[in-house]
Amino acid sequence: MRMFWIRTAFLGGLMLVWEVATRPIGGTTVIDPYYISSPLRIWEYLVEGLSTGRLLYDTAVTVAEAALGLVIGIITGLAVGLAFAFSRSLAEFGEPFMRGLNALPRVALAPLMLLWFGIGFAGKVFIAWSLVFFIVFYNTYTGARSIDPGIVNAAKVLGASRLQMVRMVVLPGVFTWVFAALRVSVSFALLGAIVGEFVGARAGLGYQLMLAQGHLNTDGVFAVLVIIAVLAIVLIELAREVEERLLKWRPATSL
């Protein structure tokens, strides 16, 4: 609790210094707010943008893009990862391709995104998906291969069919890995959506960021950054909550 007040005081102090530094003192300012804005100006921009609904709309668009990319990424990543885990020949055949595709910097897909999907919603989902897919794929594949053979044997002796084996042993084992990577997946989905919006869009936080920058509007840039930061924190905390709920059977390791 004490730490909370120390942190609050630190942050408040920082804001105060920032604000004062951008105020004219005896005709000169320490730093021109044109470059670094100021807390009050950012606040005003935020209040205005949110109350007119414009920034709210952009936030919703970005969240929707990231969420859809996340969900599709998890489903496809799980499916392909399981297929690789179950079929040795598929894994042998496909592994180099997966590695190659995953090595590709995803921003490089942006021109393709524009060609295929235009500057609308779907392209951003595509970029978010392309990031989440590989995280989930690799976690599924590794998770399935690292399932304790002792557990598999135990289920076999208890008479488990192939389907029961998947349901009781393989999927829970794989989910452990996938959910442990949920926070990373969420932040990558957000990253993908925003990067997609940079490249070409008509809405979204990334689009607003580019717009503000184009108008040399530092207040706007900072305001959108604040929204993105808050959004990221909320989403990642949400993911942590889900993760903890689903993986509550795990012992807490402390080193």
Binding site: G150, I151, N153, K156, V157, L158, M168, W249, P251
Partner: protein
């Protein structure tokens, strides 16, 4: 005669083995013949297992013969690496494809197998109850009946209050008990146990041995127990098979005639127990000697 791989185990855990029970005949290589019955739960004749890898071949089990008769606890003791676990895995059809089998290994048709592993092999994401009910769930038994059947077992093993604990919240002895009831609640006819208490301290171990004896008296299920612990073998088993060092063969079969009902704590201090212990130890010690002298 070459059996190749033994036939698989059907989905309900019953060995789908169309083979007729092998007729009894005196076992090979001078092994004292068991009081042979016509349909032993498990018949093993001249059975060998080799592991083939690219550059070498390991003979794990060599021309082993033994009959496991109904309703008794049987124990296998032998030096480390002599193929005890491999033999149990062959019975449960869990060997990898690199294992080459020859000879005869037959589980009587209709016999339902259970296997208690050395490591408890519990699912970490299932609670005590969730783990214990796995076999029943697989068999398609409805949840209410599963709970009803498990209640008794949880009570006997003192796990009732831990039914909703996850494995990492249990002690080693408790985990092994969960593993035990997961197997026993399915009411198998033949229970394989591979050093089930090897990882436990001496006191917990004695308590668990007592529990096995009690459960066995109640169910009279056939048990094949692999152990390092001579005293454990003699205390629990009606018959002890002593194996040689690798490649393992049965070099002695000891019938254990001790006053029934046995008691883990009382029986241990009787002169009969000591005499048997000495007898088996002598046989085993020779194995370790030849191992030490000939690495």
């Amino acid at each position: 005669m070459s059996a190749g791989r033994p036939t698989g185990i059907a989905a309900d855990g019953v060995r789908a083995d169309g083979r007729e029970p092998g007729e009894s005949r005196p076992a090979a290589d001078g092994v004292p013949s068991a009081a042979t019955r016509h349909s032993a739960t498990l018949t093993v004749r001249d059975f060998s297992i080799r592991f083939l890898s690219a550059d070498r071949e390991v003979r794990a089990v060599d021309a082993i013969s033994c009959d496991i008769s109904d309703g008794h606890i049987n124990a296998i003791v032998g030096p480390s690496g002599c193929g005890k676990s491999t033999l149990l895995n062959a019975v449960a059809d869990l060997l990898p494809p690199t294992a080459q089998l020859s000879g005869e290994l037959a589980v009587r048709p209709g016999v339902k197998l259970g296997y208690v592993f050395q490591q408890d092999a519990l699912l970490p994401w299932r609670t005590t109850l969730g783990n214990a009910e796995m076999g029943l769930e697989i068999a398609g038994i409805p949840r209410s009946e599963r709970l009803q059947r498990l209640e008794k077992w949880l009570r006997i093993t003192g796990l009732t209050d831990f039914a909703d604990h996850y494995p990492h919240q249990l002690s080693g002895g408790m985990r092994q008990r969960v593993s035990l009831i997961r197997t026993l609640v399915c009411e198998p006819h033949l229970v394989l146990m591979d050093e089930p208490f090897g990882a436990l301290d001496a006191q917990t171990r004695a308590v668990m041995q007592d529990e096995v004896l009690r459960i066995w008296r109640e169910t009279r299920t056939t048990i094949l127990l692999v152990t390092h612990d001579l005293a454990e073998a003699i205390l629990l088993a009606r018959r002890v098979f002593v194996m040689s060092r690798q490649p393992g063969r049965v070099i002695r079969v000891v019938d254990v005639e001790l006053a029934e009902p046995r008691d883990v704590f009382e029986t241990r201090v009787t002169p009969q127990f000591e005499a048997l212990y000495k007898e088996v130890w002598q046989v085993l010690r020779d194995q370790f000697r030849s191992q030490a002298g000939n690495p």
